[in-house]
Amino acid sequence: MESGAELVARLRGICGADHVLTHPDALATYRSDGLAQYRQTPLAAVLPGAAAEVQAVVRACFEAGVPWVARGSGTGLSGGALPVADGVLIVLARLRRILAVELEDSRVVVEPGVTNLAVSKAVAPTHFYPPDPSSQIVCSIGGNVAENSGGAHCFKYGFTTNYVTGLEIVLSDGTTVELDRDAPGYDLLGAFVGSEGTLGVATKVALRVVPRPEDVRTLVAFFEDTSAAGTAVSAIVAAGMVPGAIEMMDRLSIQAAEAATGAGYRLDAGAALLVELDGPRDECQARLAEVLELCTNARATHVWKAEDAAQRDLIWKARKAAFAAMGRIAPAYYVQDGVIPRTRLPEVLRRIDELSAAYQLQVANVFHAGDGNLHPLVCYDAAREGEPERAEELAGLIVKTCVDAGGSITGEHGVGVDKKAYMPAMFSEPDLEAFQRLRCAFDPHGLANPGKVMPTPRLCGEVPGPYRQHPLERAGTATRF
């Protein structure tokens, strides 16, 4: 193995000296992603300017036996882009070209550093790209692919994995592989999306885009408590509707969001339910009337219907500000990302209330109510002795409550380093072993984003037994029908 200095020299040869950072000051930005409590300084951060440079960097790392981590915009909330000590951080921010816009095929092809919002802008006004994480202004498509990102509209429209139709990836040995959703064979594309950078790095991404809906209707219904709002959600779903978005906020988050934005949410409400219907105009109108009736039946105290685009923006502004606004209520907080079957919402919220009382810590709830993805914010004050530890413990119990209810430890933020300790709560040892088989097929040396996702480090053994070539492999594909 060559020394770190030799590798750095090689990387400079590949990307140019200006694009290889090794000074601690220059690396400070890259020590953590959106989850700042985890920090690590890498050996170097490199900013390649083209796919070929990414490949050369990965190959250099492979030859040096040095692990690497790919990073998009660094907005991830699970520490997925946390660097590895003595490893290389590959920053894809310079790969931000939109390579093709082919609306006749409902398709765009982009480099991984292109932002999520830039994709929608590139296909406006006729089309849009549905997965819309709250960080969409800055988060990158490459990061979205790694995390299988969702967003407020995924109850109706699905997740990143439903929109990626092709990928160019670089494996940890420096091989470039083209994956196409339509090509016969294993769905390696489906396995790669959401693998959190542990199977390789994407250098080109083809995405499906969809026609922009003809009409959008947005409203907020206010309720006395989350239980009444939950009843309304159930009624809407039971009526056969799949709204573009259904988002719920509890009393604490309404107050924080309203204090931050002054959007016009009712401060006396115990719960706010944001419902957005989109689609063909006549269908939207018919459904809107139905939603209003169902909310009234569920004892909504007030309904605020957006009359124009400005009001719609206000309604969303408060919802999207909810996380950041929590700073007004507490100096610090843990965000969890557990998912539950939506029908278990009342009992899970009750359990969270009990835990909150027992731990004497406030928990605010903002969540995607349609798909049962909770984002409980466990508030704490790091200046108070023992409170961060109590908060972390409480956050862990909330995750466990979600798994016990038949749900998941993470709906959209990913496992990363933050939730890997929870993986055994959801998966047995044989399940994890099966995951490792996939990992070993793609990255047998464990160089791509090591230490993430899996709860304990594991190695890849050799494939047992001699590889026996099938007669058809020997015959090849020479015959053509």
Binding site: S106, E147, T161, D182, V237, F435, A475
Partner: protein, 379 residues
């Protein structure tokens, strides 16, 4: 000598697979046996049937999810879901007596017209339990509609033709049945006109449930299914769009069940050859023109560029030469004589992708007993 087993539990299935793996005996998994696809090779030594793994483990109405054992006939599951106003939005042809099982449909990634709106089978799977040839029982995903914990092994097994292991159960996302459906029909006798109209419909914000083409002998039609409370009004709009685009014989059909059953049946051939062609949606006119060259009958997803061509086996080479560049071909139904080589899977995938597939196969089925040779590149 063929050994047949029909395990009644996941553990028994895993044990049967382990035994075969240890003895290096080749295994085929059998569901409803409605499809004989893939490369026809040596007969398997062990056949593991899913007939006794036939329970609907969960139907969570309020959550729009379900968990099905692999041997559940998809038609039976749909009946139960429909009773609650729901569906699994996966509507392939189910066989002459509706024998296709959910396990078989997922293992072959088969899908019907609803793919237009709801995606491929892989888009509807939330989780999966599988058995591997070393006896491992493993679960991935979950049963909630949003979940990013762990690798998506379910997608890997979807369309894997039994070559990685045995699918034991799948958890799936359900959708509400549309309140009402009306289909707008229009006829064209020019591939370019049919394709241009399909493109215009696919790009319009109509949220069509399905958008199909049916084509034969230089003439055919587009079928656009509208769903929802205002399905009829929307079908009228679609009809007007078709007319403005130059289509003839515009018709609104309600009920439209029969129409779509015919489209699904067109994806199979009992006597001739059935080729699945995936091309860019914008290449639809070229695919239809190629079909005319080979006297093929076409049904397909007009907005997705996915067509099923039924034709005389002798005309296959002629068709292949006429198809647009980049079109992916897979031969599904065909006489045994044509199914003996890897050419069933069309042109081989890029070398590196195939190599990666071989590595995946080697990790999941190191004994190489699971359906050897039926898949892409001799996997």
């Amino acid at each position: 000598m063929l050994t047949r087993v029909q395990p009644a539990s996941f553990a028994a299935a895993a044990e049967a697979l382990r035994e075969a793996g240890a003895a290096r005996r080749s295994v085929r998994i059998r569901g409803g046996a409605s499809k004989a696809w893939g490369v026809l090779g040596a007969a398997p030594e062990v056949e593991i049937g899913t007939a006794r793994l036939n329970r609907i483990l969960e139907h969570n109405e309020g959550d729009l999810t379900a968990v099905l054992e692999a041997g559940v006939p998809l038609g039976c599951a749909q009946q139960q879901f429909a009773a609650s106003g729901q569906m699994l939005a996966l509507d392939p042809f189910l066989g002459q007596s509706h024998e296709a099982t959910i396990g078989g449909v997922i293992a072959t990634a088969d899908a019907g017209p609803l793919r237009h709106r709801y995606g491929a089978p892989r888009d509807l799977i939330l989780g999966m339990t599988v058995a591997l040839s070393d006896g491992t029982l493993a679960r991935s995903g979950g049963k909630v509609i949003k979940n990013v914990a762990g690798y998506d092994i379910g997608k890997l097994f979807c369309g894997s033709f039994g070559t990685l292991g045995m699918i034991l159960s799948v958890s799936v996302r359900l959708h509400p049945l549309p309140a009402r459906t009306v289909t707008a029909l229009g006829v064209a006798d020019d591939p370019a006109l049919a394709a241009a109209t399909a493109g215009a419909l696919a790009r319009a914000p109509l949220e069509l449930e399905a958008l199909d083409v049916a084509w034969r002998g230089g003439r055919g039609g587009l079928l656009a299914r509208c769903g929802g409370l205002q399905a009829r009004a929307r079908a009228e709009r679609v009809g007007a769009l078709m007319r403005a685009s130059g289509l003839q014989g515009i018709e609104l059909v309600e009920p439209d069940t029969e129409l779509w059953a015919r489209q699904r049946a067109g994806q199979r051939s009992s006597q001739r050859a059935l080729l699945r062609v995936a091309a860019r949606p914008s290449a639809l006119a070229e695919v239809l023109a190629a079909a005319d060259v080979a006297a093929a009958t076409v049904v397909g997803r007009a907005g997705l560029g996915l067509c099923f061509l039924e034709l005389d086996p002798e005309a296959l080479n002629r068709l292949t030469d006429a198809l647009p560049a980049g079109a992916q071909r897979v031969l599904l139904d065909a006489p045994a004589a044509l199914r003996g080589s890897a050419a069933v899977w069309g042109d081989p995938a890029g070398g590196e992708a195939l190599e990666l597939m071989r590595r995946v196969k080697a990790r999941f089925d190191p004994a190489r007993v699971c359906n050897p040779g039926v898949f892409v590149g001799g996997i």
